[in-house]
């Protein structure tokens, strides 16, 4: 992995409440590139490349904002520095995605037998 992405993330719009991991991140201090008011944030979860981190507290029922628009809804409180994914955020539209496996994204609602 390219060193410049070490412990680095990218926030698209200023109002977004998530940033995107530019490499696999370890808990600790990370940089935020792009349009963030903060330069650094402390994360408490390990977060894989391409996944999202809450850059502030997101309360249950609050929209998760990326690109400046709601991309889903928080299904319980998400503290700043936490990984945001299928376990705490769901689509407003696609019911099936809430049933997918958290790690692999594989469907769990269909039997292979």
């Amino acid at each position: 992995m390219n060193d410049k992405f070490h412990q680095a993330s990218f926030q698209i719009e200023k109002d977004d409440n998530v940033a995107v991991a530019l490499s696999d991140l370890e808990p600790g201090s990370i940089r935020i590139h792009g349009s963030s008011l903060l330069e650094v944030i402390v994360i408490t979860d390990a977060v894989k490349q391409g996944h999202k981190i809450a850059n502030r507290m997101i309360s249950e029922g609050e929209p998760v904002l990326k690109y400046g628009v709601p991309i889903g809804i928080a299904i319980h409180d998400i503290e700043a520095g936490k990984w945001v994914h299928l376990h705490n955020c769901k689509s407003y539209y696609d019911k099936r995605s809430s049933t997918l496996d958290l790690e692999s994204g594989a469907p769990t609602d269909i039997q292979y037998d």
Binding site: G50, Y67, D94, S104
Partner: protein, 405 residues
């Protein structure tokens, strides 16, 4: 944009009034049974310096949607001459296609394998005819000044990852803004990846009637996705960090840039005037529920070709290798690792924006230079590798109110 006024090149003038950036001979088969012979004819001219592409429709029973795509490619500005190859008993009539080409002022010829006496004789005759068409094109094609205001570029994504929405599609959006400012035409598609964006989409419509068109295209798409219980998002997308279809949609929508949308095109309908257009490739409701909306990336590229795109952008994150018949494909990624790993296939990387090493505007400027050199005849990676994929499905869509048929 004033600096781009002198960004011109020599295009190929067509008698139907259009200008192309390539001068191709298009070999078209009219049924799967004729595909082998057509492909053998095309393969004979690989790396020959002659620009011969092969496309075709596999069905024996014809289909209006597929026929419209075939006709759109015959009329396409990058196509100089046409030869159809049929077996002889299929519905789709090569002879009628050739009449359309001739009415457009393009040299054309048709042949049926049953008449010519089988595989070998048809291949031999086909090669001779292609050679003749080439000689006519070389002699008769008129070169003409061409610039950004004549250019139509289509964009779509394939093999997206987290960088697509952060950098890959963003640089395309920035370039589309510049193209439209220069009086050119930009087309984006993948309305299936607009879930959750209805208000944003409608807000981009240039007037009330276009907003209505956009709303209707959106509602049809949402109804389609609900009824097949499948959104355009896959396990790999989730594993890669995307959590919802809305998130993926917004990343894809970024490639449309910021200009107003002039209208919604149906497949095989050319834009009515310059500006930014949305291409609707979702099948219309029909008693046979014809067709999947996005069976693969090449179908999407074909849709953009059939709306007269001279040039295509394919944005990838994980990496893709395909090209397209008829129009050159510039493959763009925002992922520097993918770009290094697949450097034989990918044309452009906008990943430097992620760490602020380069601004998105300066990357868009670099992409514009690549667009111009491609218009001047420089081959894309896909062209160099002879990647000339195509895909014409059975599908149902009404022709719309302003489709030229």
């Amino acid at each position: 944009m004033s600096g781009n006024a002198e960004l011109t090149w020599k295009g190929f003038y067509r008698n139907n009034g259009t200008k192309g950036i390539r001068n191709k001979i298009l070999v078209m088969y009219t049924v799967e049974c004729a595909s082998f012979v057509a492909k053998e004819i095309g393969a004979a001219y690989r790396n020959s310096g002659m620009d011969v592409d092969v496309v075709g429709f596999g069905g024996c029973t014809d289909n209006e949607y597929a026929l419209r795509m075939m006709i759109a490619m015959i009329r396409h500005p990058n196509v100089g001459a046409v030869m159809t190859v049929g077996l002889g008993c299929e519905y789709l009539q090569g002879k009628s296609l050739v009449e359309i080409a001739e009415n457009e002022g393009k040299p054309a010829a048709w042949m049926l394998i049953q008449d010519y006496g089988g595989t070998l004789k048809t291949i031999e005759e086909g090669k001779r005819v292609v050679q003749q068409l080439h000689e006519r094109l070389a002699k008769e094609t008129v070169l003409v000044e061409m610039g950004l205001s004549d250019l139509v570029i289509g964009a779509e994504c394939g093999g997206s990852d987290y960088t697509s929405g952060l950098a890959g599609n963003v640089v395309v959006g920035r370039l589309f803004d510049r193209l439209v400012e220069a009086g050119g035409t930009a087309i984006f598609e993948e309305i299936v990846e607009a879930i959750g964006l209805k208000d944003i989409l409608l807000g981009r419509g240039i007037n009330e009637s276009v907003q209505k068109e956009l709303g209707a295209a959106y509602d049809k798409m949402l109804e389609y996705c609900k009824s097949v219980r499948q959104y355009s998002v896959s396990p790999g997308n989730f594993a890669g960090g995307l959590t919802t279809i809305e998130e993926k949609s917004m990343g894809a929508f970024a490639k449309s840039g910021t200009k107003p949308i002039e209208g919604v095109l149906k497949v095989s309908q050319p834009p009515l005037h310059p500006g930014l257009w949305l291409l609707d490739s979702t099948p219309d409701p029909h008693f046979m529920s014809f067709g999947y909306t996005n069976p693969n990336d090449n179908e999407g590229l074909m849709d953009l070709v059939c709306s007269n795109s001279h040039l295509l952008f394919l944005v990838t994150g994980r990496g893709t290798v395909v090209g397209s018949a008829v129009s050159p494909v510039i493959k763009i990624t925002g992922n520097e690792n993918t770009y290094r790993r697949m450097s034989d296939d990918l044309d452009f990387c906008s990943g430097a924006a992620l760490t602020g090493e380069k601004s998105m505007d300066s990357l868009a400027e670099e992409l514009l230079e690549l667009v111009i050199s491609t218009c001047r005849g420089e081959q894309t990676k896909a062209e160099l590798l002879n990647h000339k994929e195509y895909f014409i499905p059975y599908k149902y869509q009404s022709a719309g109110t302003n489709c030229e048929m």
